[in-house]
């Protein structure tokens, strides 16, 4: 069981090594819009990293926080995507700044392991989901296939979040909790570097 847990936690992290260009345009897998959405999420570190940080944070807080976070994150992601498809187009630099801010906020919370109420976890999930949904679907016209893409992305988000929190919930050993908090500090550092990069070069990763 422990090996499975390590494999399930470690391999998605290794998958981030994939050098595919992580741009916000949708990916055509040839298997239909839902799978396009699933693949888009799986190949977008901008989506995976803040989601993983929130999942670790919610998982460390307990099952109530995890459930609240999962529901709010998925709903927020869908709403953000729907708003983007309805025509709200934010500049790339704002979307990039949103990614940096999300990494700093969620990574920082995880690193400090702050005690928060479930409603705050839900609010954080909704905000993060809305921002990422908006970034994912910006510039995409509303059509039946594109709704399928959004459904694929949101289904992946929900599945990945539930999987990550279910692996985090049983972590009670000191070094495991420390490892999760160290991961949070790295994500906060990542967000800070990204913010500096945006200020210097403009939009970098939305």
């Amino acid at each position: 069981m422990r090996r499975l847990r390590i494999a399930a936690l470690g391999l998605p992290a290794l998958a981030l090594l994939a050098p595919g260009a992580a741009e916000a345009h949708l990916i055509a897998t040839g298997m239909g819009p839902v799978y396009d959405g699933v693949t888009h999420f799986a190949l977008s570190p901008e989506d995976i990293l803040p989601m993983a940080a929130l999942a670790l944070f919610a998982g460390l807080k307990g099952p109530v926080h995890a459930r609240a976070g999962a529901a709010a994150l998925t709903a927020g992601w869908f709403l953000g995507g729907a708003v983007a498809m309805a025509g709200l187009a934010l500049p790339s630099v704002v979307l990039s700044a949103g990614t940096a801010a999300a990494l700093m906020a969620v990574g920082g919370l995880l690193a400090w392991n702050l005690a928060v109420r479930p409603r705050w976890c839900a609010a954080l999930g909704a905000g993060l989901g809305a921002a990422r949904g908006l970034a994912d679907m910006t510039g995409v016209a509303p059509s039946l296939p594109h709704w399928g893409v959004l459904v694929g992305i949101c289904a992946s988000v929900a599945a990945a979040f539930v999987l990550a929190t279910s692996l985090t919930l049983p972590l009670r050993r000191f070094w495991m909790i420390i490892a999760a908090r160290v991961a949070g500090s790295w994500m906060a550092a990542l967000g800070l570097l990204l913010a500096g990069w945006i200020l210097r070069y403009g939009a970098v990763a939305r």
């Binding site: 399930a8 391999l11 050098p19 901008e46 990614t99 990542l190 570097l193 210097r200 990763a205």
Partner: protein
């Protein structure tokens, strides 16, 4: 059964490691992704010895320094990287980086045990200068997120290497070995300080 599930999970994820693009041009001097970011902190020996020394010192001091120091360094390094990226002047960074090797190596050599806050402040201050030096020379690139991810991971792994070395501290012979390693870091720091001042 468990192994089968692990394999079933592992194979598709390993497939994700396959390169998505096969560019025909080799780009030099650009931040092209995870690997170039990962290479950046390990490309300079002055950075490497200081980061490994942070882990060694943390392991020597024990809990909570063993994890607090390696968390402080990357966070402050990111702050320094941010300052370097946005162009805030921070003079003397090369001297400070050389001093970090000298002082951190000296701390390991002497088994210095200052208060936790003082140790964290010292490590954080040096992290700031290391990050600044990296941030000031970061090139424009295609994927800042993956570059930064590689950058932060490499830093963390250097600390982890230091911690792994420092764990020999629990054995009698290991204490002397660790202090000898501290002396080597200190020597490196002296060399780099000489080079920075010359």
């Amino acid at each position: 059964m468990t192994r089968r599930i692990a394999v079933l999970l592992a194979v598709p994820l390993l497939l994700a490691l396959l390169p998505g693009e096969a560019g025909a041009h080799i780009v030099r001097g650009e931040a092209i992704g995870f690997v170039s970011g990962f290479e950046h902190p390990i490309s300079g020996l002055d950075h490497v010895i200081a980061m490994v020394a942070v882990g060694m010192w943390g392991a020597q001091l024990g809990r909570p320094a063993i994890w607090l120091l390696p968390v402080t360094f990357p966070l402050m390094m990111a702050v320094g990287g941010f300052l370097g990226l946005v162009g805030v002047p921070l003079p003397g960074s090369e001297v400070a980086i050389a001093l970090s090797g000298l002082l951190l190596g000296g701390a390991v050599l002497l088994e210095a045990r200052p208060q936790l806050l003082a140790a964290a402040a010292l490590v954080g201050l040096f992290g700031l200068f290391h990050g600044y030096a990296h941030g000031a020379e970061l090139p424009p690139g295609q994927n800042a997120l993956l570059y930064s991810l590689g950058f932060v991971l490499a830093t963390g792994l250097l600390h982890a290497t230091g911690i792994a070395i420092g764990l020999v501290h629990r054995w009698g012979w290991g204490r002397y070995t660790l202090r000898a390693a501290g002396a080597m870091v200190l020597s490196g720091g002296v060399y780099f300080l000489w080079a920075a001042l010359a």
